[in-house]
């Protein structure tokens, strides 16, 4: 057929693309960074010039003589396109690449609801935790048994480390071992009432999310502001989450570090300007939306577009913002707008501070279920080891239980955006208090079976060791200064507690500098927003744990302190209680005592402590 002949996109072109191309260059795949999902993406990729089939790379690649150069590639075991097919594509290009309006090769995806949704609870015993009703229904559907309860000591260690980042005091473990049953609801209330313990622990989570306590690039040139003076009191006083979000999005002087992002030195690509960082971080942290793709080109993996990414950026930008596609200016100017116009829209004509306030209102709009679901899912993941939606930053993924997610979101709202109320609901559920699921393989298809073991964060791990040994670090030189690597963090804590000077309260790891041991254990440098920590122990970490000077120093100081106190048997017992919240078994006691002679040396005690600290039972929150 002559080149000028009409081409039928739907009936001629689509079948060819489907047969040969979109397996790798469509749907969620974009091999070589090339996706054919939409006409815009095809044109953007510069593989063809509309109207000129003779100079099109696409045709050239499809007809290459050398099979290594030809598409589809040899590994695909697909036949090269025949002449008739090539002819169709040539006509398609010659006709300026016609495309059917709205057509895409992108797959139908789960589209999460935006607005809150009422949950109809399954029937169950009166007074049951609603989480358990939903979970029980899930188990029924999956033909699984409800997991057996964890014993009191396992529960207490889990809840205490999850909520305060520290292990339970040995006294509790002793009481439990004497057979005194634990009132679990009361225990949870007591932990949540420990305002300081709660705030110090959750600093780590929020520092990661907000890129706070950051010492890297841009910091030395004032390109980064910390938010500790705002964040710590907010956690200490359990600031309602809607206010919390409002104050981060439309910030005060103290909380503005989050939206200001990091001003990098030198030139950066268009997807890393402070405006685009704003777009990426606000959407990731509060909405579980990955805007990193869309801030360079229309996303292949979800529905967000370049225009929407820039719309969000333009709310923050003080100057007119031109859209750049893959780092190249497009000539189109961004208009301040936000992602869910069904809840309202930004008035782009207003000054920046007004726009930010509007965004804060939209973000915390009572009908913005996306924001509510995103935070409760993060809390669930922190407590249960795995999100109802996973990954926690891809809230467009189908949850394993919509009802459970919505139940938690509704609870957040009905409690007055009280994060502790959500944590309480989770921690007092039977399912949180169940034995952890033993998973033998990471890759098996995930079906919720109960809590998943969590590896302690660097901060939890080191704080737990310090709680066991009773040796806390001295404040480093910068801690009380306004500048420096750990710049003034403790000043902010003192101020929040109205202290004139630091009393003898422990200095938690989160307030110290990230040293090489902490880096090895997964404390991030916060160049990027971090929403989950590594969950496995690597060989290099293991070497560090076996012989690194930082840990060895901590253990030595601990051994020296513990050494003067007690006889070996008591020592073993109290270390087991403090570390694992349980009594040593008879064999464990024997093995430990065979290392610790009647009068153990400091070295013996060090080795004993090390052996306990290296147990997976210690490293993991079981």
């Amino acid at each position: 057929m002559p080149l000028g002949a009409a081409v039928d996109f739907a009936h001629e072109v689509v079948p060819i693309l489907k047969k040969h191309c979109v397996e790798c260059h469509g749907g969620e795949k974009s091999k070589g960074g090339f996706s054919m999902n939409t006409r815009a993406l095809v044109l953007e990729a510069d593989v063809l010039e509309p109207g000129h089939p003779d100079v099109s790379l696409l045709i050239e690649q499809l007809t290459a003589e050398d099979p290594d150069e030809r598409m589809p590639p040899p590994g695909k075991k697909k036949a090269p396109l025949n002449t008739a097919e090539i002819d169709v594509l040539k006509r398609w290009i010659a006709a300026d690449v016609p495309w059917e309006e709205g057509f895409t090769f992108a797959k139908d995806r789960y589209e999460p609801p935006l607005k809150p949704r009422k949950v109809k609870l399954p029937a169950g015993p009166a007074g049951a935790n609603p989480i358990d009703l939903i979970v029980a229904e899930h188990f029924k559907g999956e033909k699984l048994d409800f997991p057996v309860p964890a014993d009191d000591s396992t529960f207490l260690r889990r809840a205490t480390i999850d909520l305060t980042g520290l292990p339970p005091s040995p006294g509790f473990a002793a009481k439990i071992s004497q057979g005194k049953p634990l009132n679990r609801d009361k225990a949870v209330d007591r932990l949540l009432a420990d305002k300081q313990g709660y705030a110090e622990h959750w600093m780590t989570f929020w520092n990661d999310l907000l890129r706070n306590d950051y010492g890297g690039t841009g910091f030395i040139t004032g390109g980064r502001k910390q938010v500790t003076s705002w964040l710590y009191p907010a956690l200490l006083n359990n600031k309602p989450f809607d206010e919390f979000v409002r104050e981060l999005v439309a910030p005060t002087k103290e909380s503005r570090g989050f939206i200001d992002g990091i001003t990098w030195r030198g030139e950066v690509n268009a997807s890393q300007t402070t405006q685009i960082q704003f777009s990426q971080n606000v959407s990731q942290v509060f909405l579980g939306i990955n805007m990193k793709c869309a801030s360079c080109h229309d996303s292949f993996i979800d529905r967000w577009t370049l225009r929407e990414a820039y719309g969000l950026a333009a709310i923050y930008s003080e100057t007119p913002l031109e859209l750049e596609r893959c780092d190249k200016p497009t000539g189109e100017m961004a208009k301040a707008s936000w992602l869910f116009p069904e809840l309202g829209q930004i008035d782009a004509s207003k000054p920046r501070d007004e726009r930010l306030k509007q965004l804060a209102d939209l973000m915390t709009h009572p009908e913005n279920g996306r924001m509510q679901r995103t935070i409760v899912n993060r809390l669930w993941a922190q407590m249960m080891g795995r999100g109802i939606v996973r990954p926690v930053d891809a809230m467009n993924t189908e949850p394993w239980s919509e009802d459970l997610l919505d139940l938690l979101a509704n609870h957040l709202v009905s409690s007055g955006y009280d994060l502790k109320a959500v944590l309480r609901l989770i921690a007092t559920s039977r399912i949180y208090q169940s034995r952890a699921d033993v998973r033998e393989d990471e890759s098996e298809a995930y079906v919720f079976r109960g809590p998943v073991r969590k590896r302690m964060t660097a901060e939890q791990f080191l704080d737990t060791i310090r709680a066991v040994t009773g040796v806390w670090p001295k404040a480093d030189g910068d801690a009380f200064k306004e500048k420096g690597a750990s710049g003034g963090q403790l000043n902010k804590v003192m101020k929040a507690h109205d202290l004139k000077k630091w009393d003898d309260r422990p200095i938690r790891t989160a307030f110290g500098k990230r040293d090489s041991l902490q880096a090895a254990l997964g404390r991030p440098n916060r160049d990027q927003v971090v929403t989950s920590r590594p969950d496995s122990v690597t060989t290099l970490e293991a070497i560090n744990l076996a012989n690194g000077p930082e840990l060895a120093g901590m253990i030595r100081a601990g051994a020296e302190k513990l050494g003067n106190a007690v006889d070996p048997k008591n020592l073993v017992q109290s270390v087991f209680r403090a570390s694992l919240s349980r009594e040593p078994a008879t064999e464990e006691m024997e093995i430990s005592l065979s290392l610790l002679s009647a009068k153990p040396s400091t070295e013996d005690i060090e080795d004993f402590l090390w052996s306990v600290f290296m147990l997976p039972e210690f490293h993991y929150i079981n």
Binding site: G216, V438, A520, S536, T538, E588, I591, W610
Partner: protein, 484 residues
């Protein structure tokens, strides 16, 4: 102690069988039998056949001036009153073992082994506006311009991830000579000295002081072998008798045990001696020992001999020190020649003598070159960072190349399947000394290195649902001319 004792004794039999099954026969055989561990890539493009098993990167941190090392131009001796625009090279050229290759005076030993080298004179870097060492080093080491929305892995981490270790004890990615604490821009250095999104399993083992390297793999300070063994025995005993042993088959816990065992095995292995420079003959040590860098070269040789996959040895980046010459360029380059000349030549000869050079790719490279007048490339808006600004030479500190030049630099490759005595590309003889002939970008240079190691430059992993490639967008093209 039997290195396998952990698995043979410590775990209850049922648990052990369970997790061997979970791991699959291949993996189980690996850690029981001691076969080399190999981590398969998520998704692989067709990989080229490797011409090298190991790679040693000799990193000239801080910007090594090509006209002062491997790309001599018209020599201008020091003379008060000389206009600075006349100065390109401050060292005369000398002959090398290859007729058509001349390099700078001061590198006589390396000149003697140039017949084993491929010299690329047309490498160039992207101008990042503000010329910052750490950013350009990030770009060179990861192939990506910082900042990135995800943590980009170091090329050593790519090799660790895709190829794995060469044996079961030696960490695949080792980084020698760079302090990451207590030096300027240390956070920026850490940002690329990393496994990035591959996770810390593939990150570098850092040995900032070669002479102290043995400590990194020794039992902790002052611990006798007996005590070390006893301590481990206690751990094993506690594990074996734990009332919670039924939980050990959980994959996280199991992988932790495997890591502890790997660490223990290394700390008790014969390969550990590779880290100990005091085990080297004195005359050999002395020949290498021009300082930390020279010792690092010796350490690299020992590590590669014992199974390391990727080793980087750096002259160390410290702002305004070493190759980072913002003044006194000539004097400093002279000092740096002395540091690198003897150990590099000896390293090449040692590898050759041991029959390892053919399968070991050694690379000398730097984040950019230097020039007397130009910051970045001609027309760049980058700030002039010379600390010895002058129109004519008045004192010695003015003499040398004090500005960061990204338009053309030299890379030397030895072994690993590259041609011998081969010159590739060139820069202009007159300022600006831009790469004029066969320019090689960082992406293409990485593609060349990856190709030698048997990794397709298009190798990709899905990160946050996006493809991420060994070379940017999978587009790096190997410079096939450099391969024999």
């Amino acid at each position: 102690m039997n290195p396998d004792s952990w698995y043979n004794e410590a775990l209850p039999e049922q648990t052990r069988r369970k997790f061997l099954r979970a791991l699959g026969a291949g993996t189980a055989a690996t850690f029981l039998g001691g076969a080399p561990r190999s981590m398969a890539a998520d998704r692989k493009s067709k990989n080229p056949e490797a011409t090298a098993d190991s790679c040693i990167l000799l990193w000239m941190a801080g910007g090594m001036a090509a006209p002062e090392t491997f790309d001599p131009k018209a020599y201008m001796p020091y003379e008060v009153g000389t206009p600075v625009e006349k100065i390109i090279s401050t060292f005369p050229a000398i002959d090398t073992a290859v007729d058509n290759i001349k390099i700078c005076k001061g590198l006589e030993n390396i000149a003697g082994v140039m017949d084993r080298a491929t010299l690329i004179r047309s490498h160039f870097q992207q101008d990042l506006g503000s010329i910052l060492h750490s950013r350009h080093q990030y770009h060179w080491h990861t192939g990506y311009v910082p900042p990135q929305t995800v943590a980009a892995p170091h090329i050593g981490a790519w090799m660790a991830k895709v190829l794995g270790g060469r044996n079961e004890v030696m960490p695949p990615f080792i980084n020698i000579g760079q302090r990451l604490e207590g030096v300027g821009e240390s956070e920026e250095l850490k940002a690329f000295t990393t496994g990035g999104f591959f996770g810390s399993e593939f990150g570098s083992m850092n040995l900032p002081f070669p002479e102290l390297a043995s400590q990194a793999v020794k039992p902790p300070g002052g611990m006798s072998p007996d005590r070390f063994a006893k301590r481990y025995k206690t751990l094993e005993g506690l594990l074996k008798n734990s009332p919670k042993s039924d939980e050990l088959s959980d994959y996280h816990q199991e992988s932790m045990l495997r890591s502890l065992d790997n660490a223990h095995r290394l700390l008790g292995s014969k390969e550990r001696e590779a880290f100990d420079l005091s085990k080297e003959k004195k005359e050999v040590f002395d020949e290498y020992n021009t300082g930390k860098f020279g010792q690092g070269c010796l350490l690299a040789r020992r590590l590669v001999e014992n199974g390391a996959r990727f080793v980087e040895v750096t002259t160390e980046y410290v702002p305004f020190l070493n190759w980072d010459t913002h003044e006194n360029g000539h004097t400093t380059a002279d000092r740096m020649h002395k540091q690198i000349d003897r150990p590099i030549a000896r390293l090449i000869k040692d590898l050759e003598e041991r029959g390892m050079l053919d399968r070991t790719l050694v690379i000398i490279a730097s984040e950019f070159s230097r020039d007397m007048l130009i910051e970045g490339i001609p027309g760049s808006t980058a700030r002039d960072q010379s600390r010895a600004k002058t129109d004519v030479l008045k004192e010695m500190k003015h003499y040398g190349l004090h500005r960061h030049f990204t338009g053309g630099s030299s890379v030397v490759m030895f072994g690993g399947g590259t041609k011998k005595g081969f010159l590739y590309g060139s820069t202009a003889d007159e300022r600006p000394c831009l790469a004029v002939d066969n320019p090689v970008s960082i992406e293409d240079l990485h593609a060349t290195i990856f190709t030698a190691m048997g990794i397709s430059p298009k190798t990709e992993f899905d990160i946050e649902s996006r493809p991420f490639y060994a070379t940017k967008d999978g587009k790096g093209k190997s410079v096939s001319d450099v391969f024999a």
